[in-house]
Symmetry: D2
Subunit: 250 residues, 4 copies
């Protein structure tokens, strides 16, 4: 499995604290977290400042799982690149969207909603697991402490998750559906809320474990090239007459 | 629509504060809250100390919607009565389970799980709405203050809700899926967490509105008598030949 | 409640059989089916050939529920109009998408998928209900005969429905999730498969009943203007100090 | 992982055709199908005629995944054994229920519904996949031919599946949610419809693949012993003071 970690990589250029906490940038740290999940495959990073955002047709075609971190520069990702990622997800590529990636164009496009929420900086967060049997929760306790994080709170304008795995509690009276899954086409999507650029969440062992578990869960188990409607031919009657084989055996 | 409010009515006999807060008992107060939802029908109350728990075949047959509050005497409800209520839900009767009713035999039987949770007395609760388009959330703000309540927290061992409408935030670091819906057979079920016998939640106007909304949502829109498998006869071929009418037109 | 019926109205101009079956066009027939659901409100029609497709800001602002029928001219609906409808759904407007509307831009945008399927003309369809307690199934038998319809079959590339109400059976060996609901933002969406322009489905009393039920189900119960993220202010601590009121009471 | 295959093993004693088609009984054939999924663990069989139905406390404690086939003797499984299996599922054991197991006591107890359906013998079935990205669908085509099977049709009285993976089409005008998943407690459950004792379905390579995929999907990823509510202690405040560790670290 080939994994690509996409990071906007903008805060890293202007806020020293970001690279102090996450040396080499968030993409470098995330790539390190997931490096063993590729299981012999490649772990790449890609950033906004690269040609085609580092997400050329070639790179995406060769990517089975994409991680996405973005925040202040969502609008700078060209629609053409967004469409390209969108098609790959529908074809089967897994997608893990982290923290402020909730308002990225690609997440909004896949959700079909605004993905808006309510937010405030520098609060205290605890994560609770409300679906302990989910593979993404493997090895994660009933609840654990994130510590200082940016508060994200409801109403989180996303379609009802296929699976709600984690809930976030914030000391200022707020709560959030912090870990959610959806399927789109042949692709699996996981959104996870902790991960502000000036907080320590990606150094939390449980957060790291969740991201690694999500890599395994979102790994493609099927894929397709075609994304359009098809005429039914042959019919079952034709198949039963033995004259032709069903489409899937062609 | 005929509504029956069932209350264990046990704390009322031994803890003066309960009837100070809820004069006449929780059943009297709940019956008053929903009295306009029957729209010309009857609103009854039934309690554990009555013959057959007040839930005779006759009463249940004549009940379209049942509210359930119980706590310390779940085990005193005979299995025969539980089975009776169970069948009525599967036939189409709506069911609203309140607060500590989460560990009632009837709720456990309909859920197919333990319905266990984590709990602690005398905490502060705020309710958030995470599905504002749901009819049970009509007229309810994004979030509102419950104030002092018993804390219920995850992991709440219920099947994944068909719809998660409300989340509860508690000041001691806890969070709960506080308002959930499920369908069982032809019946609709709503569980709502606030409502401890020594707290004021049932006097909260938003809580009252939620319970009233839930009455409308859970009202039967279809019903059936039979609860067993049936042989398919006629087949579509028979129907198309015009010889017989489909089962549903008999 | 004001209802607007949108119809592409293209086949009506070139295929005489369409207006023979549906005099005045599909929009006229659909408007007649739902006319009692507005309950004192207005039932309008709008078509592709009108200025701004008949869906001006003014019309949409005044629309609580939109029905959508389109087929061969999906690409002719300007993106600007699609965005306008999209925002209204997220603000709370109900949307009922019929038959070949599955590949309309607006449905694809709200689903976040291709909405592709497999299809073939002139087959025989029967509809089964797999969620009889749903309000959209009220008054509908366990199954009923559509007769000749266009076959739509799986894989239907939509997000897993929030509720799967109807399944379609086709004599050529195919099956389809024929009646599905989703929520997007504050809006409720229902998709229903029967309704090919040269078949009789919209004259079927059960199909008509389903569409009318869907109008009631999708009617807005809440709405909003703002579609963007908001800073949390005041915090719960501020609220509890009594200094300020929560946002929702402002 | 240790797998136990439970079979009623009653038809095998009276209908010669059953053991002609499935030599050694259905349990033997099913055990052979899943033998490589234990990955070094044990694959056992257990039958109704054994002491305690072959499902002693010891056997169940040592079972990670249970397959269940039953039909005419559901009533002969003692409630005590059913409770034992029920608790193990809630503790994390996976459960795969096959064909006529839909009306077994254990499946009904976990579903909280009657699990009734409509049925007829000797029809022709085709299976369609409506969630190709699900791991249980890995390697399975869009649709495939079962051939002669017992028809099971809607309304199938189960809770709305967490995931609907397969749909069954039957030539007599019927359709069925043929492959469904649910979570209960810490356990994962998969129901699959084909598998009548006098038909060939368990010799179908795709059916075998689905059952094997289901073993991997339902394998426990978490488990628990306790099935009851717990007092919250310490609170977050206690934890943050550093005096105590959260419950999960004890």
């Amino acid at each position: 499995m080939n994994i690509t970690v996409w990071n906007e990589n903008v805060h890293e250029q202007s806020i020293p604290r970001v690279t102090e906490i996450y040396p080499g940038g968030l993409h470098a740290v995330l790539a390190d977290i997931v490096k063993d999940e590729a299981q012999g495959g490649q772990v790449r990073t890609a950033t906004l400042d690269q040609p085609e955002c580092g997400l050329t047709e070639e790179v995406l075609k060769d990517t089975d799982l994409l991680l996405w971190w973005g925040h202040c520069a969502h609008g700078s990702v060209p629609d053409e690149i967004v469409d390209r990622v969108y098609k790959r997800v529908l074809q089967g590529m897994g997608l893990i969207v982290l923290h402020s990636g909730h308002e990225s164009k690609i997440f909004q496009k896949l959700m079909g909603t605004t993905c808006r929420l309510r937010w405030r900086d520098e609060t205290y967060e605890r994560i609770h697991c409300c679906m302990p049997s989910h593979p993404i929760a493997q090895g994660i306790p009933e609840h654990f402490e994130i510590g200082v994080e940016e508060c994200y709170s409801e109403f989180f304008d996303v379609p009802e998750p296929d699976e709600l795995v984690f809930l976030g509690w914030f000391d200022i009276g707020e709560v959030f559906r912090a870990g959610c899954t959806w399927r789109r086409g042949y692709g699996k999507i996981f959104y996870f809320q902790p991960g502000h650029e000036t907080n320590q969440s990606f150094h939390n062992p449980y957060v790291q474990q969740i991201i690694r578990n999500a890599c395994r869960w979102a790994a493609p188990t099927a894929s397709r090239d075609e994304l359009w409607s098809a005429h039914i031919d042959p019919t079952l009657e034709d198949v039963r007459k033995g004259v032709v084989q069903p489409e899937d055996k062609k």
